[in-house]
Amino acid sequence: MTTVDHDLLADYVGGALEGTPDEARVAELIAADPAWQAAADELRGALALVSADLAVLSATPEPMPADVAARFDALLASSEFAPVPAAAPRAGVGERTLDRSDRPSRPGAARRPRRRWVMPTAVAAGVLALAGIVLPLGPLGMSAQEAGTMADAPAAAPAAAGPVPAYASGSDYLRESMREGMRAAASAKSSPDAELFSTPTDSASPGDVAALSYDLHRAPAGLARLTASPDALARCLDAVRTAVPGTVTSVDFARFEGRPAVVMMVDTASGRLWFVAGPGCGVNGPDELFRAPRD
């Protein structure tokens, strides 16, 4: 008798192993091993009861509470939900939150502060993309049209020297797919997620010290150092430029092979590159994880 791998057994019973070599292996174990057989029988019986329980929950109404509904009504009536939102960013979009001032406090429940990503900018111009964020990092100026070539990328910034469009696509880039010049199909299915940016509140003039506030909902938490600080990101891009002389044309706070990573496109004299940096980018070099020709 062998020890039952309950995860594997659950996968088998649930059909997750179909078409894999493990399917036959587990089937053999269940047929030949009394422990596996008993566990499989028990699990199948239990799952029928779980399905019944879940069906009860599914049939139970879960209406939006009246106070929450009222807040959404107010929000929907606000300018934030005015039509034709893509035409131009409006001041304050993304900053508004549901007004909880009238929410009765729950006994013993501390109110969590709103998480907000605030980026004080002390450099150069901030040209704002429609849905993405453009970091005012003048020395690392871009050729903006490149940004629009990435799948799922938000609308490209107007072509202008200076800023680098940055966003958090929520994608998980795969080594092999990048080598092939395409993003992973699985990741590419998340197009609405790129919209999870809040639009910046202002566009700064050169030399302004502007405070751009926005949400990078899909940025992995492991990249907080870079998403929270333009200085940190500037050091990262400097390190990248040292490693790969050229111009960084876009920045995606995403994942690479499952790990938090800054995925950049770089224009170099020899062509365009993917350059993937880890969370330590800019601390002691670019923390390079991967690079590959883009074309």
Partner: protein, 218 residues
């Protein structure tokens, strides 16, 4: 008093994209209870559910013009909502994973013993719903989200895989393992003794046939 707007979801979304002021609100109110249920059952927290739903609606509001009709509007909305919820939970990184039967350590046994090993014996459907909801809340969030969409909302595995951007096998695995954990927590499956799930914080998604490349719990 006017009756319900007779337009379809697609028509409302198109009207919104064309600039009609109230179309998005009509669409949202039409589906808000279902969307709320998804958000609440996925986040298991009223505030998180409201915040995630707000983020999702802002996102949908802005992205409406690019809706291409590849899926139903409700599927599109659910996808945005559940991803907003999962993102919120992922950022918090406060989830833990209950072991499958046979994987509980002593500490876990102490903490979950009665709920895991004794039948919950609910007396009514309402009680059952409460117990199941509480158990669901104990699952890792990716398993929970998959079960909410598949078992509670009735979406197919393929649709949920599309929504969450992972392979179908990954959704099947999340559902299977989630249900197995629920079986223990709901008292339908006895707990066997075996080595604990080290750290109680991770399980690996199965990634059959090319894999999901999903490392959301990393």
């Amino acid at each position: 008093m006017t009756g319900p707007d007779p337009r379809t979801d697609e028509e409302l979304l198109a009207a919104h994209a064309a600039g009609e002021p109230d179309a998005f609100g009509v669409l949202f109110r039409r589906h808000r209870d279902r969307l709320w249920a998804v958000a609440l059952r996925t986040t298991n927290d009223r505030e998180d559910a409201a915040d995630a739903l707000q983020e999702a609606m802002l996102s949908a509001h802005r992205a409406a013009a690019r809706f291409r009709g590849e899926a139903a509007v409700t599927t599109w909305l659910h996808r945005i909502v559940v991803n907003a919820c999962v993102d919120r939970l992922r950022r918090r990184q406060a989830h833990f994973t209950l072991p499958l039967p046979g994987q509980a350590g002593a500490e876990e046994e102490d903490r979950h013993g009665p709920a895991r090993n004794e039948p919950a014996a609910p007396s009514t459907d309402h009680d059952t719903a409460m117990v199941v909801r509480a158990a669901l809340a104990e699952l890792p969030y990716d398993q929970r989200a998959a079960l909410v969409l598949v078992d509670l909302q009735g979406y197919s595995v393929a649709e949920v895989a599309e929504m969450m951007g992972v392979a179908e096998g990954t959704i099947k695995s999340r559902c299977s393992r989630g249900r197995a954990r629920l079986a223990v927590m709901l008292g339908h499956l006895r707990n066997l003794s075996a080595p604990p799930d080290v750290g109680g914080t991770r399980t690996q998604d199965l990634a059959p046939r090319g894999g999901s490349h999903d490392h959301s719990r990393s």
